[in-house]
């Protein structure tokens, strides 16, 4: 390849952005003038591209692709990692909240009013909760200044049913319960106790 032929190909390669072929590269290795010319042509073409992009406001396809690759490298990996950690943290938080809720509403109340022996099976809505007084349905309100008292007694299924509280008991079995009475001796609330309520009284 002569220097004249090399010059024509150098200009074309610089314009199109393609790499020189093997024959041209071999010539550039052996001819310092052509190599210098190739460097100048490539630099000039790059400058022209930058100027064109500045005028049009649009990067070239190559530049755009390069920018996109940079963006992917810079953000995509971090973006996914961030959300992965955030989702993991949210899931852990939900599990913790669920455990706390379950413990507060079931675990701590489990020892409250559920019979520890199988003589009764509580079905009253509120009998298993702390506080645990179930209001007697349709009881009339107390008068201002009226005194109340709580008596601990044993009630059978009929007595509880009469107060509108449904509890399954063995036939004839009685359930320990606290009954809230007004001054008229009529019940206002009932709290069914666990079987071991007896042990506290002996």
């Amino acid at each position: 390849m002569t220097c004249r032929e090399s010059t024509v190909e150098l200009v074309e390669c610089a314009r199109t952005g393609e790499d020189p072929d093997a024959e041209l590269q071999a010539h550039l290795m052996s001819c310092s003038r052509c190599k210098e010319r190739w460097e100048d042509e490539r630099r000039l073409t790059t400058q022209f591209r930058i100027m064109r992009d500045a005028v049009t406001g649009q990067p070239s396809m190559a530049g755009r692709e390069e920018l996109m690759r940079e963006f992917e490298r810079a953000h995509t990996g971090g973006f996914h990692v961030f959300w992965r950690w955030a989702l993991n943290a949210a899931a852990i938080l939900l599990v913790v909240l669920a455990l706390v809720y379950d413990w507060r509403h079931h675990g701590s109340a489990g020892s409250v009013a559920k019979p520890q022996k199988n003589s009764v099976g509580l079905q009253a809505e509120d009998s298993g909760d702390e506080g645990g007084f179930v209001s007697v349905p349709y009881a009339l309100p107390l008068a201002p200044g009226e005194f109340v008292r709580i008596v601990r007694t044993e009630l059978d299924r009929e007595a509880l049913a009469g107060m509108g509280i449904d509890i399954e008991t063995a036939d004839g079995a009685e359930v320990p319960a606290d009954v809230l009475l007004g001054e008229d001796d009529l019940p206002r609330g009932v709290r069914v106790l666990p079987d071991n309520g007896f042990s506290n009284l002996e």
């Binding site: 109340v148 007004g182 008229d184 001796d185 309520g197 506290n200 009284l201 002996e202």
Partner: protein, 251 residues
């Protein structure tokens, strides 16, 4: 909603007066406290001050059984209230071997005590513990609709020597509401002293439980002895449960 609040208030104030059970055998009344009297106290959350009195509270109840038989009972309690709003109630137990159960409600000191003279023991409960109990009650009580409650103003009359305002409350349980074939009517007539701000007479009729008449008699409007509102020095005092889900300390 009112009933909701009422039961909550009632519950918390009752709780304030302790929760330790006395020995078995203190039988009395419609709901016989076979396992003990747990507490007594004012149902109002706000103590009444500046109106001291002492009186005897008598409750007569009557229940007719399905075979026509009748059960009639009578209970008596002594009630004291000082000008600071402290209350002492001595609930007489009919059982011969038992002594009265005494409850002292002291909003000044912030404590309530239940005294068992037979064992010379007392259970002390902090009044501030009531919030938990109130919340427990209010959040978990089943409520029946209050729309069927009718209230009638009975005006003012002199009851047992005291001017009192009367209110008659009527409530009807619709047929089938609690398994009843026919509607059930519940009536309550309460006369509240204008000066003392406590009921001096309550007449109740609830076919489910019977009829009762409560009267406050022998009312004396003088300051009771301050010692009545103190736990005797020779009593063994234990702390009551701080949560209502603990039935009571072992004895």
């Amino acid at each position: 909603m009112k009933r909701f609040a009422t039961l909550s208030t009632v519950g918390l104030c009752a709780f304030l007066l302790g929760a330790q059970a006395p020995p078995r055998g203190e039988g009395h009344g419609g709901f016989e406290p076979r396992l003990g009297m747990m507490s007594m106290g004012p149902g109002s959350r706000t103590p009444v001050t500046g109106a001291p009195y002492s009186a005897i509270q008598t409750t007569e109840s009557q229940q007719t059984l399905t075979d026509g038989n009748q059960i009639t009972r009578q209970e008596q309690s002594k009630v004291y209230r000082d000008s600071q709003g402290r209350v002492r109630m001595e609930h007489a137990i009919k059982s011969a071997e038992s002594s009265p159960v005494i409850a002292i409600f002291d909003p000044v000191a912030g404590f309530a005590h239940v005294l068992h003279p037979s064992t010379m023991t007392a259970v002390k409960t902090p009044i501030h513990a009531h919030n938990e109990f109130r919340n427990g009650v209010s959040a978990r009580t089943k409520q029946s609709p209050a729309s069927d409650v009718q209230t009638e103003d009975l005006g003012t009359q002199t009851i047992n020597g005291f001017a009192a305002t009367g209110t008659r409350t009527t409530r009807t349980i619709p047929a089938g509401a609690i398994g009843n074939q026919q509607a059930i009517q519940i009536v309550r007539e309460a006369w509240v002293s204008i000066d003392l701000k406590v009921p001096v007479m309550i007449k109740s009729s609830d076919p489910r439980f019977g009829s009762t008449v409560m009267q406050l008699t022998n009312i004396v409007r003088t300051e009771p002895d301050a010692a009545l509102f103190q736990v005797p020095a020779n009593y063994a005092v234990t702390n009551g449960p701080s949560r209502m889900n603990r039935p009571g300390p072992r004895q």
